[in-house]
């Protein structure tokens, strides 16, 4: 299982800050499509994905136990 984390506007859109999903073996790009299908409006943003707290590439593959986070455009400072 993969643990998914949602923040800011995406947390409000999904109504949850995290959930588990059976996405091991899928790519980051697959993950984005999965989220866009599940949550209307999700695909409109420009979120990046981090795997285990490092920014990932669309071609990176999720492994069982990974933490994947959707990172909307950041605005700290």
């Amino acid at each position: 299982m993969i643990t998914l984390h949602y923040f800011a506007g995406l947390r409000e859109l999904t109504g949850k800050s995290q959930e588990q999903a059976d996405l091991a073996g899928k790519t980051v790009e697959d993950l984005m499509h999965w989220a866009a299908d599940k949550y209307p409006g999700f695909g409109n943003g420009s979120a990046r994905v981090a795997i285990n707290e490092e920014y990932a590439l669309p071609t990176d593959v999720l492994e069982d136990g990974d933490a994947a986070a959707f990172i909307p455009p950041v605005s700290g400072g």
């Binding site: 800011a8 506007g9 409000e12 909307p72 950041v74 605005s75 700290g76």
Partner: protein, 146 residues
Amino acid sequence: MKAFEVVSQPINPQAYADLVLRPEAGAVTLFTGHVREWTKGVRTLYLAYEAYVPMAEKKLEQIGQEIEEQWPGAKAAIAHRIGELQISDIAVVIAVSSPHRKAAYEANEYAIERIKEIVPIWKKEIWEDGEEWIGDQKKKPEGEKL
């Protein structure tokens, strides 16, 4: 306290300046970013910051490492506050020490630019007539939500 951290309590800037002060430092630059009331004619009541804390602290530390590589002899400490912040509260503090002035100034500005690029921290502005996550979309002063 840590040299690179996300905190939920008010920030004391001096504590971070003290962290980077060393005998070989001839300069310490201390930047504090504050909650601003007016942005492009829209009045903010308060801000709500949210972070992916473990990754944010890792990225702040990475910025510190980048600074030490680009400005040899420089040392940084950075803290960002999350939760509800009122007008004029300190949201972020960046302390940089270096043997000479120029590197301390340059590295400090580099740090805030990098924070805005890579550190997973989000800001929601709460106005009199609405609210919005900043960075997600174009500003809608009428307060239409995401």
